[in-house]
Symmetry: C2
Subunit: 482 residues, 2 copies
């Protein structure tokens, strides 16, 4: 067992808590400085919560500053790691064939590790982005490197504030310098967190995807056969670099107004109601200062060129989720939740056709981790007696109202269900399916995990065939929407 696990167990045993929820964790290493920095980070996060119109002492938010500070420190741990330490001791002698006759094994044979899942932080907006990383190298000097080291070295540079192309370049150079192979090839496919308004593009859930590559040594040059082999070996897994290369200068951070990508791919600047400009002045300066102080705590220089404007962009992103004191004033909705359940029971289900609005996209902010969770909402209800349905736009507005704030998925599901039930008295059913960035970019890193919640009200509780038909309808329409 490494120090990693032992310390974990020791700490867990000492203070009765796990590494995600610790309150009074035993601090190891040069803990003094970390702790102080931690306090500064937490104060900054608290300032952000207050700036969002929230009560930072309410139950769901009480430990959010600690969690967010920890996530940022963990997510930027790469600054403290050294590539040499990782590769040292993992170089194994391996004979190879003579250069004259071929390339194989320890001299000249290419080794590619494909589909390494990583996460990094976008230096333009400080939000995490996800990466599918592929690394190839051609051994030289009769030495091969342990396969897992390619992933570990890539992670050192991913765990920093980055932009995708620099990440590819840094991983490539670091591997070249530490392994001293004949050459290194790095290919990345990166997904940026979507802006809520981009979620309207259902095809990719609004995710912005770009591809990047970097090469050294024998991989360089137009006609490098090693590069061609690398591309071919990726293709065996369905990864098509050639298709990606069409987007010459890929648009990246959607929060940078001078490179905002639109879903139609025409590269127009976004000037609709989703427009963001660093000059718009919409981000309170005390929140921006708080974020700058977080960067300082992490050992970063908020004044380095790439980070100029990033605190402001991060705050602008957060402010999309600010608490709203307005009641929902939607056509046909009166959300007086006290009265919702005071209605007299209606009689037996009349098996009128079930109405449903499926695959409504949303992007919410997890109040425990200050990271987005996004996905789709499916709503079912019994139509009104005159057969009139409710327009989809009303449901979209409802989902936006309950979704676009500091939330937890369980509460959001209930609130939408109650709202629908308040106008469709016979019954309402709501299913929310979401990917939680906090589940995949930190801590447990369960990349494929997804969370579903369901709320059932009124006749859907007793009419199991109505419920089954609604759920089947989601499956039947999934292909059309995705």
């Amino acid at each position: 067992m490494g120090a990693l696990e032992e310390a974990h167990l020791a700490a867990a045993a000492a203070c009765g808590c796990d590494d995600d929820e610790e309150e009074d964790l035993v601090v190891l290493g040069d803990g003094g400085g970390e702790e102080e920095a931690g306090d500064a980070m937490e104060a900054a996060v608290r300032a952000l919560l207050v700036g969002l119109g929230e009560d930072d002492r309410r139950e769901g938010l009480r430990r959010t500053p600690k969690r967010v500070a920890k996530a940022f420190r963990d997510g930027t741990r790469g600054y403290k790691q050294k590539v040499k330490d990782i590769v040292q001791g993992a170089l194994f002698p391996e004979v190879g064939v003579d250069k004259r006759t071929g390339s194989a094994g320890g001299t000249g044979g290419q080794v590619v590790v494909r589909d390494i899942d990583l996460f990094s932080y976008c230096e333009s907006c400080l939000l995490p982005f996800s990466i599918q990383c592929h690394v190839g190298y051609v051994p030289s000097g009769g030495r091969v490197v342990g396969l897992s080291k390619l992933s570990r070295v890539a992670d050192v540079f991913a765990k920093r504030f980055q932009n995708p192309q620099r990440l590819a370049n840094e991983v490539c150079s670091a591997l070249h310098a530490s392994i001293q192979p004949a050459g290194v090839a790095v290919s990345l496919q990166c997904w940026h967190i979507p802006l809520p308004e981009n979620l309207k593009c259902k095809s990719s859930q609004g995710l912005i995807r770009t591809s990047h590559s970097s090469r050294s040594g024998v991989f360089e040059g137009e006609n490098s056969s090693f590069w061609n082999d690398f591309v071919a070996l990726l293709k065996l897994r369905g990864i098509d670099m050639e298709m990606d290369s069409h987007s010459a200068i890929p648009p990246w951070c959607p929060l940078r107004p001078n490179e905002v990508p639109l879903c139609n791919g025409h590269g127009k600047r976004m000037t609709t109601n989703g427009a963001i400009s660093p000059k718009s002045g919409s981000s309170p300066s005390n929140m921006v200062s708080a974020v700058s102080s977080m960067l300082l705590s992490l050992g970063e220089d908020p004044l380095r060129k790439e980070l100029l404007g990033s605190p402001q962009r991060y705050v602008q992103w957060l402010m999309r989720f600010r608490a709203c004191s307005l009641d929902v004033k939607l056509n046909g909705f009166t959300l007086n939740s006290a009265s919702v359940y005071e209605r007299p029971d209606v009689g037996a289900t009349d098996h009128r056709a079930i109405s449903s609005e499926l695959h409504l996209p949303f992007c919410a902010q997890c109040e425990h981790h200050l990271l987005p969770f996004y996905g789709v909402v499916h709503i079912g209800y019994f139509g009104s007696e005159d057969g009139e349905g409710i327009d989809r736009s009303h449901f979209q507005a409802l989902v936006h109202f309950y979704g676009c704030k500091l939330q937890v998925q369980e509460r959001m599901t209930r609130q939408i269900a109650e709202a629908v039930y308040s106008v469709s008295h016979r019954g309402a059913i709501v299913v929310v399916e979401a990917n939680h960035i906090c589940m995949i970019s930190r801590g447990i890193e369960k990349i494929r995990s997804s969370t579903a919640t369901i709320a059932v009200l009124g006749h859907f509780l007793t009419d199991s065939s109505a419920k089954a038909s609604f759920l089947q309808n989601i499956i039947d329409t999934a292909d059309l929407e995705e």
Copy 2:
């Protein structure tokens, strides 16, 4: 930053090594006992290597005992973890609707986290198995639990010697006891490491898949609407529990002769050349004792019912990969590698049709971690002048010879390429694609990663169209084989 990361950084800084390759790692916690146990574990692994006919001092194996000991300790860390510590402090008050009118939010609304990737150790043979875990629960008492805790609790029980059904039961009971919800549902899909001879079934690469579930509270009973909702919410992700339930008593560990599953699914006992019986006496007793002492070091009782016979099965598994001193005596192959490259250069490529044997399955043992890596080998060569090809069975035997031992993928690729080149003097090309259990079940846990290696000899080096045509052929035939 938690103690976890700090200790890691501190340790890395102190001794210049990462948590995988440490030699003189600073031992934290109750390190004394751990270290002693570590020595015993490492001695046991060394005994296994010697028993396999290997030189435990050769470069590739020198630190294998340390790595294997660490992997076993890490893989069974769940014995030392407490569920209470994980859930405590992660229960959040959340209001819900009245039970009378519906189920939603904090009272009665179901929450499901799907597709949690986990790894565990099979208690019948001590090999790791992979798990796709789905957990649902219905909150009660106005409290919801942080979503990541469902995954963390499942992992506590996965990180032990297990069988899949007990794992499902234990996760279910532990969550029920710690969260005190209205009910818990757990569904697992498990994949056992295949036996080399089962790799002939190409459809699933010989992986043995079983499904298991466990439920408590409101999920119990034939007609539980909560259970039906759980099943429906899994179906939204393409997970079909109903389809799985047909295999009444699922076959599991293929190393237990009384429940050996065959690929044809008829449940016959395997009596062919792959037959294993605990009474066969093929496993040297000193190796079996070594494994028993490893279990003791891990704090396990080798005499508990479920572990009786497991050391023997583990050794029987390992012995399939024992070093073989025989030369390959295959029809048409004389592997005098000294002379392979002494042939005079043949003239220009005559563009005879390229012959290829693709998707040849193999299962090797990683010599760095004593864990399998398995996948497919693709072989291309120029046919002989009389147009006669080499029979596929010869290539299968060749792949088996170089694959079924302590290996690294790079060397195996080169060795196969050299062997093919020795009979097909014009040129040989070999691509190996593999999943490494050591990459996905421990350390970096890169579940989707896969490694490709390529060796190119003779005319394939200069004839890029021949190489491209071979590589395209792999893609074109992939669907047929999978």
